[in-house]
């Protein structure tokens, strides 16, 4: 206690404000943990699934506002925005899940097809195909990446990106290996098209071509889907 500390009421007010500051920080840091995970997942999915996941504008602006207020030391306004932030984070999490749902499904389906084809052709390492499958199984994808204990977010992003890129390379290699036999056949063009990330639509095949595919070795691996 020193003489310039004002009255005991002043001090209690200060203590109150100090606890309030800590509480806000606690909530912000909680939201930040989720945001970090979501960002890492985004990096993984974008790489592995070769897709782009956009960040919601509202989330971005909320974060931007909070950052500005914090820079100004205005924790009072931040307090009012913490709940909004939490809601926007939740929304982003939902969107991430939604946006990756279809590519993930395609990915998993493709990998399973490749595993079955490989059983017959035996041209690719089965273990690698199995790791491709298990990496994006439902569940916490980040837990399947080994991050350094003391790594900061930047390093984690780098790690996640690298791991994801490796899986993508394996995925691409397996696909090439399994389908290159069919590229030299009369329906090589069609296979090339089907192996791409934008498979051909049914209408692009004429009746003859469909008949040939049905009778070929690939028939068991061709899937028809509504798009």
């Amino acid at each position: 206690m020193s003489t310039d500390e004002g009255t005991v009421v002043d001090r209690l007010r200060r203590v109150h404000s100090q606890y309030k500051q800590r509480d806000i920080q606690r909530q912000l840091e909680g939201a930040a943990e989720t945001l970090a995970e979501l960002y890492l997942e985004k990096v993984v999915y974008e790489t592995v699934l070769d897709t782009t996941i956009s960040i919601d504008g509202d989330l971005r602006s909320t974060i931007q506002e909070i950052r500005s207020h914090l820079e100004e030391g205005d924790t009072e306004t931040v307090t009012a925005q913490v709940e909004t932030l939490k809601e926007r984070v939740q929304t982003f999490e939902n969107e991430l899940e939604k946006e990756t749902s279809e590519p993930l499904s395609t990915y998993r389906s493709n990998v399973e097809s490749m595993q079955r084809l490989n059983q017959r052709l035996e041209v690719f390492d089965t273990t690698e195909l199995e790791s491709l499958r298990s990496f994006l199984e439902p569940g916490d994808v980040l837990s399947r990446i080994d991050f350094e204990d003391e790594a900061d977010l930047e390093e984690k992003i780098a790690t996640a990106g690298a791991v994801a890129a490796e899986y993508r390379t394996t995925y691409d290699s397996a696909r090439m290996k399994l389908f290159e036999t069919y590229l030299e056949t009369e329906y090589g063009d069609k296979v090339t098209m089907m192996m791409s990330d934008s498979p051909p639509r049914l209408e692009s095949f004429d009746e003859q071509e469909l008949k040939e595919l049905y009778e070929s070795d690939l028939a068991p691996y061709i899937e028809l889907r509504f798009g």
């Binding site: 206690m1 009421v9 109150h16 500051q21 509480d23 970090a36 992003i157």
Partner: protein
């Protein structure tokens, strides 16, 4: 006149002159102030033109002889030359063109006022303007009432500057102006002082000075207050207060306090543009073509103004035209005693040094002196032939038979040659004077006072004879040494006082003229007189009543006593109807011994009266114990004097036994025989285990109580208040009561140092039913390292003695109703800080206090003094060893204007919102904080304010040290001192994870 044919009613005092004399006229006649005797009372028609009685003063005035003296002093070697009052008057018949004065000096009651009144009479006859200044007139009254009134009466116009004085009086009486007025007075005085003296007075000292004056404005207003006079500051105050010591150089003519007082007065007068005494006298004198005379009949103007007046009187300036007649005692006249004054003016003394006796009243002329007063009573008609005195001044009377149609002429109660002195005779008057009055009280005033009292009780009260009235007076005031035969007291007591006062000793008898017995109803059954038993030896003839004096050698052996007791049946306690056979043991013993009482009274140490002596002495001792509350040193106090078992608290007078300091002289002759017999009866009853003091105290309590009071006063004087006790002899300015107030103040301080140390606080503690105890919080603070456990025990013991201080305060410095004498206590605390008083208490002084002065077997006065002294020493050390602390200022700031409700609200909010973030210990602290109440905050703030004072006096520093020590130990202070705050997080380190992550979302 003869006893067979009295024509007056004995019950009314027997004299027709008193029947028509209103009591008020008697009081006017006997008034000790000559000026009042000389004054006219229109309401009662006394001294008016239609008054049938002569002028009282002229009729009763006795020419006064005074002694010319060359000094106003107590010096025994006064060159005393007797001069008449006429000579004194002639000194005023002057053609001087300068001021002139006559000084009359004398003890109280020796005729100063009489002489002044005489001179006034003479001066009035000369048509001189006379300004009469009364005893009670203070400077303010003189300036604002007497002089303006005199001016208006003599000159018929308003006094020029009355309003200035009235403004000044009003301002002094207005408390709202006290501060402003004090500042002006002091600033004016300091400015003027600087022109004459080298003085230094800092701003702080000046502020203290002003505050001192502010506190003393009452004194200025009541300027002639006893002892203090107009001394705005006293010598004692000057010596004790450094801020008053403004003189750089001590080499000044008068005492510094007087110089300052003089300038303060001038400062006050300047403020209101009023003229001083001197200027006013000048102004008045200019208006007269005859020399005005100022008569101070009892000069009591305060010292400073008296000196100023003296300077005016003695200045040698032609044109000054006042004559002054100044009468006073040596003490009050002292300020006029300058060499110039003594060289220029005559000083007369009314009494010789060392004696209150005056030449115009001696044993030889006491009858002559009093006779005019008694004659005046009969001078309302032609009963007395009033004449103008030969010299044309005053009245006298011729001793001729009263006119036949006058009241005295129609009455035959007393012989005409005796009616001048009636209802006294010469013997009576002479006995009143000597040995009646104590030797130092044989003044005109005392003589007249006694005569008036006797007359009043006889003629306007229940008593039928002046001798009875005289006998009823306290023997200390009026003594009679005539002793009569015991049988007179026992069988005809109504003759005892009669004979003792009127009776002339003659052949073994006290002989009284018969007519006194007739008129006061003692003789003759037809007018109320009683039968006189023959054994009394009283003889009544047609002209005399002869009452026997004691036999020179009483035959009072024990055998004869027994016989006598059996013979005598007419004792006060037994009746003729009670046969001796049925007497109880008590009655029998009493009867046996009572006959010896009068003889024992003459000589209590005589072995033959040993038995009476034992019973009476035991009785006195028991009554003493009863009346003094078992030898308490003062009524109502538990402090008692533990008298040695081998001693009684009294020793009989004149028996050659040594009287110790713890004993008083008891003179049996001062007691009435009836009282001594009652004491004997009580002693006998007590010896037989059957005594009740109620009766004796009811009937005879006054004298016994006076004796007990005398013993208590002596014990206090010798064993409690004595200047040799308690204090270092060099610091003898302190009194015992200062010790009481200081000791109690220290107890109050230790009980709670967070109170102002004032008379009011002492009063509040004094009135509280709770005992004082050492403040527990303070004790904790003291224990926390500043004071040893032993010292704390000293403090605790000392405060535990506070009930004894209260006991003594109640007995000495309080009023009834459990109230301290606040004025006295405040004065003592102001003049003598408790620390200073107790610091003057020394071990040797304590050891001089007798161990016999004690409250009970465990506690005596020494214990009180020792505990007070030690505590004071320890507190002094504590103060010296303690550095000025920061805490009080911090606490003051921390709690200033803080409301408990606000704290509660904040803490509730804090805990509701963030308890999960708090350390458990901190949450507990917050809970404890809310358990205090607003009162606690206010109390701590008061304590902090006292602790934070920047004081110069040792007492105040001790007070603030204790307050600070308590503060440090107070739980509220501990909590607010330990109230931990969190580290505030800077914005650049706030929420680091968010800060890092958010980068990826915004870029």
């Amino acid at each position: 006149m003869n006893s067979d044919n009295p024509n007056t009613d004995p019950a009314s005092g027997g004299c027709p002159q008193f029947d028509v004399l209103p009591k008020e006229r008697l009081h006017h006649l006997m008034n000790p102030v000559a000026a009042i005797r000389a004054a006219t009372d229109e309401d009662r028609n006394i001294g008016t033109e239609t008054d049938s009685y002569p002028d009282i003063f002229e009729f009763t005035h006795h020419p006064i002889t005074v002694y010319r003296s060359n000094a106003i002093s107590h010096d025994d070697n006064v060159d005393a030359k007797a001069v008449s009052e006429e000579t004194v008057y002639e000194t005023l018949d002057t053609t001087e063109t300068r001021n002139h004065a006559v000084v009359i000096q004398g003890s109280v009651g020796t005729g100063k006022s009489e002489l002044c009144t005489y001179l006034t009479h003479r001066l009035e006859e000369d048509n001189r303007p006379i300004l009469e200044v009364r005893k009670d007139d203070d400077l303010m009254t003189l300036l604002t009432e007497r002089l303006p009134k005199f001016y208006k009466e003599e000159l018929g116009k308003e006094f020029p500057n009355t309003t200035d004085y009235e403004r000044m009086r009003e301002a002094l009486a207005n408390p709202e102006r006290a501060g402003e007025l004090s500042t002006l007075i002091v600033v004016n005085a300091l400015t003027d002082l600087r022109t004459e003296y080298d003085i230094s007075c800092s701003d702080v000292e000046r502020a203290d000075f002003i505050e001192h004056i502010e506190n003393n404005l009452d004194v200025i207003r009541t300027v002639a207050e006893e002892d203090r006079g107009s001394r705005i500051i006293t010598e004692q105050e000057y010596n004790q207060r450094d801020y008053l010591k403004i003189f750089e150089n001590d080499d000044i003519d008068e005492t510094p306090a007087e110089v300052i007082n003089s300038y303060l007065w001038q400062g006050l007068l300047d403020k209101f543009n009023t003229k001083g005494l001197k200027e006013v006298f000048e102004l008045v004198a200019e208006e007269f073509d005859r020399r005005p005379v100022a008569v101070f009949e009892d000069f009591s103007i305060a010292s400073v103004q008296a000196k100023e007046l003296g300077n005016f009187i003695e200045r040698d300036i032609h044109g000054d035209a006042w004559d002054f007649v100044i009468a006073g005692t040596p003490r009050t006249l002292r300020p006029l005693r300058t060499q110039t004054f003594l060289n220029r003016f005559a000083v007369f003394q009314t009494n010789r040094e060392g004696s209150n006796q005056v030449d115009f009243l001696t044993e030889d002329n006491v009858v002559e002196f009093i006779e005019p007063y008694l004659t005046y009573i009969k001078a309302g008609d032609s009963s007395v032939e009033v004449l103008n005195a030969d010299d044309g001044r005053g009245l006298t009377y011729e001793k001729v038979p009263p006119a036949e149609d006058s009241r005295c002429g129609q009455c035959d109660v007393c012989p005409s040659q005796d009616h001048y002195l009636f209802p006294f005779n010469e013997v009576f008057i002479e006995r009143i004077y000597n040995p009646g009055l104590p030797e130092d009280a044989r003044s005109p005033r005392e003589l007249i006072k006694v005569v008036e009292e006797i007359l009043e009780v006889t003629f306007y009260g229940p008593v039928t004879a002046p001798s009875t009235a005289a006998g009823d007076l306290d023997e200390a005031d009026l003594k009679n040494e005539v002793s009569l035969r015991d049988a007179v007291y026992e069988a005809a007591p109504e003759f005892a006082d009669f004979a003792k006062w009127y009776g002339e000793k003659e052949d073994g008898y006290a002989v009284v003229p018969r007519y006194f017995g007739d008129v006061f109803g003692l003789t003759g059954t037809s007018n109320g007189g009683s039968e006189i038993p023959s054994k009394t030896g009283i003889e009544i003839t047609s002209t005399e009543i002869r009452v026997p004096l004691p036999e020179t050698k009483p035959d009072l052996t024990s055998d004869s006593l027994t016989d006598k007791a059996e013979d005598e049946t007419a004792t006060p306690e037994t009746t003729d109807d009670t046969p001796p056979a049925e007497e109880s043991l008590v009655d029998r013993e009493y009867d046996e011994l009572s006959a010896d009482v009068d003889n024992w009274r003459q000589n209590p140490s005589e072995p033959q009266y040993e038995e009476v002596n034992r019973r009476i002495s035991d009785a006195f001792e028991q009554l003493f114990n009863q009346l003094t509350g078992n030898l308490a040193v003062r009524q109502g106090s538990k402090l008692r004097y533990n008298l040695s078992r081998s001693k009684r608290p009294f020793v009989y007078a004149d028996i050659g036994e040594q009287v110790d300091d713890d004993q008083v002289k008891l003179d049996p002759q001062e007691f009435r025989r009836s009282t001594l017999r009652a004491v004997l009866r009580y002693g006998v009853e007590s010896a037989h285990g059957d005594a009740s003091e109620r009766g004796i105290l009811k009937d005879h309590g006054t004298q016994l109580t006076a004796l007990a009071d005398r013993w208590q006063a002596q014990i206090q004087r010798e064993f409690v208040n004595h200047e040799d006790l308690l204090y270092d002899k060099r610091k003898s300015e302190f009194e015992f009561d200062d010790f009481l107030v200081a000791g109690y103040a220290l107890c109050v301080l230790l009980d709670n140092p967070w109170r102002e140390l004032s008379a009011e606080t002492l009063q509040s503690c004094f009135q509280s039913t709770a005992d004082l105890t050492l403040d527990t919080t303070l004790a904790t603070g003291l224990q926390d390292g500043y004071v040893s456990d032993d010292q704390i025990v000293v403090f605790r013991t000392f405060v535990g003695l506070s009930p004894w201080f209260e006991d003594l305060l109640e007995a000495r410095v309080s009023f009834s109703g459990n109230r301290l004498d606040l004025v006295d206590v405040r004065k003592r605390m102001t003049e003598h800080a408790p620390y200073a008083v107790l610091d003057a208490v020394v071990q040797s002084g304590i050891e001089r206090v007798s161990q016999r002065v004690r409250f009970n077997s465990d506690t005596n006065l020494r214990d009180l003094a020792t505990a007070a002294r030690k505590s004071n020493q320890h507190l002094s050390e504590l103060e010296s060893n303690t550095n000025k602390r920061e805490l009080p200022a911090r606490v003051s700031k921390s709690l200033s204007d803080v409301q408990m409700t606000e704290i509660e609200s904040l803490v509730t909010d804090l805990k509701r919102s963030y308890q999960n973030l708090m350390q458990a210990e901190f949450a507990e602290q917050l809970t404890e904080l809310t358990e205090f109440e607003q009162e606690d905050i206010d109390t701590v703030l008061t304590g902090a304010a006292i602790a934070n004072r920047d004081e110069y006096s040792k007492m105040a520093r001790i007070h603030s040290t204790l307050a600070s020590t308590k503060l440090e130990a107070h739980p509220l202070v501990a909590i607010i001192s330990n109230l931990e705050e969190l580290q505030t997080i800077d914005s650049d380190t706030f929420a680091p994870v968010f800060s890092e992550v958010s980068e990826y979302y915004v870029n």
